[in-house]
Symmetry: C2
């Protein structure tokens, strides 16, 4: 059961310039949607970040190659026009066979749509190490192209799930002072093998705001660093992480091409909200999660130190099992802080609060603390671990979940 | 249930110059031995390494301070004379109160034995963040001193357990070519919060070989790096890790004071065996362990790369749950290799064997592999994951266990 509010937004805004088609292609799962095609208007800007995993999947290699190829072309229209996404098979650790098959699916879609293969970006998620069913994908393309529509975001979020128990979607409207309204809609997937690093499991976000591509790419890096790159379920960075941000607005006098543009801040803030929501939805639906945990670190000398401390705590199996048990075993938090590798750390200055309960103050048990208080706060489904390092002004936040029996069951059973 | 052969050796050799006393002091547990005193002959050399955890426990701070103090003293006899070890309470994250209490227990033992407090090295293990019961320890000292004996090694191994299900002891005899016989005996403890870093959970090893202190310290660092520093259960580096190596032989013409000494290699090899056995016993008794896993990495460009890859695989919750389920989900191994951070890595050159079964060869499924083979090897209780990086000659090995429901249960219940 996902933790807390995972309800989709009441209104999922269509993004003019983005159409989505879906089918049950039988890539691996039977009788469920598993193949998604995004069609993107040719004037759109498209930005993308991919996993830092060095054993990355064949489609990730192709995404990078295709984007590099398009960048070398001089005509304005040479942008990605299609995203081709399958679930069930990650097409990772599949060598040249996997690479060729992914390429062939791109070529097939390009041929059907009169585009270049390089204008198709492929994304796969699912089991690693198995050769992908290329023919099922190619056969499914027609059905996807036939039902292309602007209102298929939620259906697409549903189709790209693996062990996700809920589709992950968010959407918002940006109302500018001059009366202009833009929209942001996005979907994500992921529930295990989640510790994105410079990318995300899979995230696809679009806005009808007009944003120049170089700025869009810069924004995407910053957005993922605050959202998908600040979540962890099990510390396992996937081979297939990718996140795409599409801006479909007309490149006219309204074009947002710098951070000084009067519309920039409003658009960026809306994107931040959607990215953070999509990222934290992944944590709320983390495999076996019973608690949603925010690890907020303040008072650090550097952001890097804060990030190291937050991730050490968020990854510790001992901390995570203690939260599963609602046991305020805060010594495990202190131990994780101690081995985090943070450069500027003084054990006697570290304080730890659980929500509003001061538990450890400057290196030792807070004098006001009682086990009853600790127990009470630990039994909440959503808890903030607030760690103050007491040595500076830097801060960072990471989102995670607990480690339960269900996590072991899911990952002992997945595949079979 | 521990995995595989955990039987103690048939003969546990006494080490002349080391006597051990034990009592049930009631530090935290009731009605079980929990306090141990080692008495060390004054001519002995003593070496020690301590945890790299920056939030280390009060006794660890004292061990470092006492050793530093003794080093500044010029008389030959100023070596540690007593080890004072308790289980049940780690005396970590206890601030100045914890520090003072640990110091007072050292002072009490020093007074009773006519030594300096600095000659007492204190070690604690157990729950973090609770103030230690100093009076119970001080009251228990007399009983420990009364039953000091050379044959108490196994009883001591039993007394320092926390969640350990078995006492961990090893012992061997060194037969030198010239007819001299030396002996090595050691104990260790640990089952959770195990990812020692430049130290170990708790390990105490003694030999009656005569070894000069500077060399002994150098040997200890090398020995722990090959043993206690190459194991992981949950990736959590403890606040209390410590390992002590004692050499009690007379400092006469036989004194081993360099690696060129004719006896050095035989003694070092025997110590290596005992250290590795004590370290792997911890993994075999890992919390909830059902499988003993050796992660052997070869073909690396650097040892550091091999170590990074081995630890990434050994820490991955996805790999560990797959082993628990006996599921040859090797893609998870490849994913962990990919995010290990190893500098010199080419996904297309990586090969993975499980024992004798080639599963992934140069980046993709081995053509000879069948799921039946994979299943068969995964169902063994002891498995070697052999990863060949294919880019060099370096190698490293890490020992770990699987992640089971029982791990979650133990760590959700511990404390309460």
């Amino acid at each position: 059961m996902p933790v807390g509010n995972i309800a989709p937004p009441e209104i999922v805004h269509a993004i003019p310039g983005v159409d989505i088609g879906i089918t049950a292609a039988g890539v691996r799962y039977k009788d469920r949607d598993d193949l998604v095609v995004f069609s993107i208007a040719d004037q759109a800007s498209v930005a993308c970040v991919t996993t830092s995993n060095q054993c990355c999947a064949a489609p990730v290699l192709l995404v990078r190659e295709h984007l590099a190829k398009l960048q070398q072309q001089t005509e304005k229209t040479q942008t990605p026009r299609y995203l081709l996404i399958n679930t069930g098979n990650a097409n990772a650790a599949t060598g040249d066979v996997g690479y060729q098959r992914a390429l062939q699916t791109c070529e097939a879609l390009a041929e059907k749509t009169g585009t270049q293969a390089a204008q198709v970006l492929p994304f796969s998620t699912g089991v690693i190490g198995e050769v992908i069913n290329r023919d099922a994908i190619i056969t499914g393309l027609d059905a996807c192209l036939e039902n292309l529509g602007a209102d298929n975001w939620t259906a697409a979020a549903n189709a790209i799930r693996t062990t996700d128990t809920v589709p992950k979607v968010d959407s918002t409207q940006i109302n500018l002072d001059d009366g202009t309204a833009y929209h942001v809609t996005g979907i994500s997937k992921g529930a295990g093998m989640i510790r994105p690093n410079m990318a995300t499991m899979l995230g696809f976000v679009a806005t009808d705001a007009p944003i120049a591509q170089p700025l869009l790419q810069k924004m995407l890096v910053e957005l993922t660093n605050q959202s998908f790159n600040r979540i962890t379920i099990d510390g396992d960075t996937s081979t297939n992480d990718c996140c795409v941000l599409i801006a479909t607005g007309e490149h006219d006098e309204q074009l947002i091409d710098s951070e000084q543009h009067p519309h920039y801040q409003a658009v960026f803030t809306a994107l931040q909200q959607v990215f953070l929501r999509l990222a934290t939805l992944i944590v709320r639906d983390g495999e076996g999660a019973t608690k949603f945990i925010t690890v907020k670190v303040t008072g650090g000398k550097t952001v890097e130190d804060c990030c190291d401390v937050a991730y050490a705590v968020a990854h510790s199996p001992l901390v995570k099992t203690a939260f599963f048990a609602s046991d305020p075993n805060w010594g495990r938090i202190v131990a994780a802080i101690g081995y985090s590798g943070a450069e500027h750390l003084d054990a006697n200055l570290v304080s730890v609060n659980l929500d509003d309960v001061a538990i450890c103050t400057r290196g030792q048990l807070d004098t006001s603390y009682s086990e009853e208080q600790g127990q009470a706060v630990m039994s909440r489904p959503e808890i903030t671990i607030h760690i103050d390092l007491g040595v500076g002004e830097a801060t960072d936040t990471v989102y995670t979940c607990d480690l339960s029996h269900e996590y072991v069951s899911i990952n002992a059973d997945y595949r079979s």
